[in-house]
Symmetry: C2
DNA sequence: GCCACAAGGTTCGCATATCGAACCCACTCG
DNA sequence: CGAGTGGGTTCGATATGCGAACCTTGTGGC
């Protein structure tokens, strides 16, 4: 689970660390599918469109990374399904942010709507400490330099 | 700029569309670097740790995708640097979300702090419409099915 | 008992992508 | 004039990704 940041090229950075875990072509789509209720191999396969072998490898890697949990729901024949762990659920903001960007810049018609309380979500990052929107006025303080 | 959602495998989805643009290994790291003030090829090269040829290809693709803008700041010798477009700046929430996740689940010591108003940012995704946090109580309404 | 079919993968051989290292070109500086 | 810098391209080896076929353990139909 601990991908060492130091093994990655470039600036030492949690973004790079996160991408090392979920930054490949299929990982976030897998998380999306599981979060939408697709728990079985074949459902995730259909939803993502990934090649079978890639999907098998990704599922294993995501389980190893602590993003997914594999549950055996039948022993004969052996059958498992996949669920999000807390770490996996905590990726939902990433998906939400990507979706919002995709809706705006790549899709003509947003294909899926996220709703709650009866309206379509349009969300922003808000700082928990001061309650203001997180925007461009943030400073960055590197604590290390590579 | 218009990556057609329909050309992608799997479920028709803006997340997949966004990932088709910025979902490769280096794209988001490039956006991170540019947002941190690295505008020149060599700075981005150093910050990301990408191979030169990959970086050149990515920069071109990101310019074509409308995420970056290339500005020639010298003609003799020809020199350009790269800046975020509005679409590029709108990716910052994605980076913020990834960073927060990485800080939590992969880094031991968060290497970079995002600060504003003198404190470290700890942000949540908040719905603009109703002001509530976006959490797990969201419903998803598919408008199409593939 | 026999055949077809399903789930959840694994194996195979080929095609593409990615890699680091080396090279290139147009300048500038000393 | 020779070394150095910025911004790349080219090259050959390796890694990764791919679709198609196959495998295994079972279930249901007849």
């Amino acid at each position: 689970m601990t991908t060492r940041l130091d093994d990655l090229p470039g600036r030492r950075c949690s973004i790079a660390g996160a991408l090392d875990v979920v930054g490949d072509r299929w990982a976030l789509l897998v998380v999306r599918e599981v979060s939408l209720g697709a728990h079985r191999f074949s459902e995730i396969l259909r939803g993502t469109g990934a090649p079978r072998e890639r999907l098998a490898a990704r599922l294993t890697a995501l389980v190893d990374a602590g993003v997914l949990e594999r549950r055996e729901y039948s022993q004969n024949p052996p059958r498992s399904d996949y669920h999000l762990t807390k770490a996996g659920r905590d990726l939902l903001p990433v998906l939400q942010a990507l979706m919002q960007w995709g809706d705006r810049y790549v899709a003509d018609v947003p294909p899926v709507e996220l709703r709650h309380r009866g309206h379509r979500i349009q969300a922003s990052w808000v700082c928990d400490v001061c309650g203001e929107r997180v925007g461009r006025d943030t400073e960055r303080h590197a604590t290390h330099e590579s």
